[in-house]
Structure formats: C-alpha cells, structure tokens
C-alpha cells in the first residue's frame, strides 16, 4: 500500500494524499482548511480492505499525519498553543475537553439544520418584490459626517497586543529548509537530520521535516532510520548505500 496514493475526498480537497502534501508544501492549499480526521478515516478504511497489516505504510502514515497535525494546530491557534502550554496538564485537558464539547454541540446543531433543510425544503417562497408591487423607493436618511470619521478610527485601532510567544511560533517557510538542506548536501553527501535541526524550535523542526519529505518526494534525497525514534539519516540520491532494504523506494522513485 502506498500512502501517498491514498485517495481523499474531503471538503477542501479531492485527490491523492501526495497531491495534497505537495499543495500544502507549495502554500497553494491552506493546511487549516484540511480535515485531518477525514484523512485518518480514509487511511484506516483503505487499510482494512487489505488482508495483512501493512506496518510500513502505517509508520509512514503516522509520521506524516503527526507532522501535519502539529503544523495545523499551531497554525490555527498560535496564541492558544502558548496559553495551553502555560496551563497545568489537568487544566489544559479540561480546557480541551470543553472545546471539544462545544464543537460537538455545533456539529449537532449543523445536523439539525441539515434535517431541517430536508423537511422544509418543499416550502417555496418569493425572494424580492412581487411582479406588480409598487416600486420601493428608499431614500437615504441624512447622515452625520462624524460617523465616517468614527468608522475609520475603529479601523485604525490596533488589535489586542500579540504576545511574543505568538511571534516565536510563526512558521518559517518550507523553502528556507529546502535551500538549507540542499546547501548541506552540496558540501556533504549525507547528514544526520536530528543533529541538523537540534538547535531549532519544535515548530521549525516540524517545518524542516516537511522540507525533508519534499526533498525525498522530488527524488533528491533518500532517508533511512534504523528504528523508530532512531536518528533520521539523510543522503543525496545516488549515495544511498544506507538504503539497503529500499524501504523508501516508494517515495523517491515514484514521484510524478
């Protein structure tokens, strides 16, 4: 099973997982528009259709989906990630549970609205004026010029001060790491990913990881990891002696 060929049918995206990743990496698709739970369900359903458990696909999928989730969460709630981090674990769990309950209620409400649309869908009414009604003239009331000044003042009010924590969580562009890794590989034929990103923040590490996946996808590098959580070793394509079992072949040869 090839994870990147997983067909997705989401609200914001329809097509193979591979294309979704590419679009996200190229900033052509907003990660925050993507329903990650939908991707997980599609993957599980595909997995279930097979007779044997494809451990390799599972591992690859887990890594990929975790990186996407973390990026998405931090992109969506830059300030709240910091806020939650300041809470005690119990309080943070409670806060998350509260938000989840709120979201569930709204999902319910949306479900009710959908049912209502079905039961009320056979009610037709006119939008706009009747054909033979008098033409409605609605002259504008005299206006105070001060109101114009007021709305512009409101538009010029600076929004609530953002915390420095928020600034720290802003994302560097993926291209920054693409360039960086290419530069490293021009000097050396291989490097240790963990060592290369050790000094970076977690967000930067996540973006760096996506850059790594992109380089592998485009066939520029091969990646090897001896065991889960072991250091990730990166090599220029053509120097892949480390790639003995060709476990990454699906990612470097098949890219379209």
């Amino acid at each position: 099973m090839i994870v990147r060929e997983l067909e997705l049918d989401l609200d914001a995206f329809e097509g193979p997982f591979d294309l979704l990743l590419t679009l996200v990496l190229k900033d052509e698709l907003e990660l925050r528009e993507i329903d990650v739970a939908g991707i997980v369900l599609s993957f599980l359903e595909r997995l279930a259709e097979r007779e044997t458990l494809d451990l390799e696909a599972c591992g690859e999928f887990l890594v990929l989906i975790s990186a996407l989730l973390e990026l998405k969460a931090r992109g969506l709630f830059p300030e709240e990630a910091a806020e939650l981090a300041e809470l005690e674990p119990e309080a943070a769990a409670e806060e998350l549970a509260r938000r989840l309950a709120e979201y569930r209620r709204m999902k319910d409400a949306a479900g009710w609205l959908r049912e209502r649309l079905e039961t009320e869908g056979d009610r037709f009414f006119r939008l706009g004026p009747a054909p033979l009604a008098p033409k409605l003239e609605t002259p504008l009331a005299p206006q105070q010029p001060e109101r114009l000044a007021q709305v512009l003042r409101l538009l010029a009010v600076e929004p609530k001060q953002v915390s420095l924590a928020h600034m720290a969580l802003r994302f560097p562009p993926v291209t920054q790491f693409l360039e960086r890794f290419r530069a490293v590989l021009r000097r050396r034929s291989r490097f240790d990913f963990d060592g290369e990103v050790a000094q970076l923040s977690r967000v930067e590490q996540a973006v760096a990881f996506l850059a790594l996946l992109e380089l592998r996808r485009s066939g520029e590098i091969v990646i090897d990891q001896a065991a889960p959580f072991a250091p990730i070793r990166v090599a220029r394509t053509g120097e892949e002696k480390i790639d003995r079992d060709e476990r990454t072949v699906g990612w470097n040869v098949r890219s379209a």
Partner: protein, 199 residues
Amino acid sequence: MERPLRLIAGNPLDQLARTIEALLVIASAPLSVDELADAADDHAERVETALRLVGERYQEGRSGIVLEQVAGGWAFRASRDAADACARLFEKPAQRNLSQASLETLAIVAYLGPCSRPDIARIRGVSADSAVANLVERGLIAEAGRDDAAGAIRYRTTPLFERVFGLESLSQLPRLDDIGEDTEQIRERLHAVAEQRTA
C-alpha cells in the same frame, strides 16, 4: 369556489383580512403584526384576529397559497403540494448544496450570536473564511459590526436564514445536549474497520 369558512363580504373584519391578503401578496419579506397594523391603519389586536381568518383560508390542503408565521412576521408561500411544480420553475439559490462546513459555520453563527471568523475557526478547528464568504453570498449571514477588541468583522444570521429554515425566530432553535452524533458516527466507522480487521 364556496368554502365553509368563507369570509362574509362587508364585515369590517373580513375587509381587514382582505387588506392583509393584499399587503402580504405584494410584500418583499414577512410583515410583522405592527407593520400590518400600521399599513392597514387598524389595531394590532384586530390584525391578529384577522390573521387567524386569513390563516384558515390559506392553509395546506385547502389552497395553493399558504400563510405562515416566519422570521418575525407573516408571509405567503407556495403549498407543499406544489413543491415539485415550483422546483421545475424556480431555483433555491440560498440553500442549494450547502456543504457540511457551511452548515457548521451557520450553526455557530446562529447559536452563538454575532461572532467573527476567528471565533468560528476556534470552534471548528479549521479556517472559516471560505464558508463565511459563501454564506454571505447566499444571504444567510450578514456583517454585524466589528469586534471591539480585535476589530474583526462579526456576523449574524439574516431573516432569510430564518425563512429558509422555517423558523419564527432564533429562539425556535432546539437546545443542544452534549452528545455528538457525529462523534458517534466516527466511532461507528472505526468499529466497523476494527471488525473487518479481526474478521
């Protein structure tokens, strides 16, 4: 067409009922009792009594025109029997193909009152920008000033929303409990997958 409930001509209340019929057949939007009373130059109580007469005459199964109380007022609509014929001639641009994202956004705006795109994104976990733009274009939500703190534009549902969903007012929305049907569905799908695995 003689009907048992036919209004007796010349009776002032009957006349008021006919005036109300006339007002409703040309109105662009539902009319409140006060608006009807002002236009008919009569008392609100008498308008309410006359509306009952009109309602008896224009009801499902009796007439192709049906009186309904909706969106804070009274309006005529087509009878449900005629829905197929209406569908052949008229579009329903406001409610056709509403996506799940749009419905969730609509629910949040309807239940939480004026709220901004960041408010909605915070609850849904995904950006609400395109869903909000889509609902504004359909006329189901509209701008309602700006947030004091962040200056973000806030949105509320429109009378058209109440009309499309057949609500007299937002207070007719049901109370929601905490059990998420959708969560239940996801769990069911997960269980189904698990059973297939072990089978």
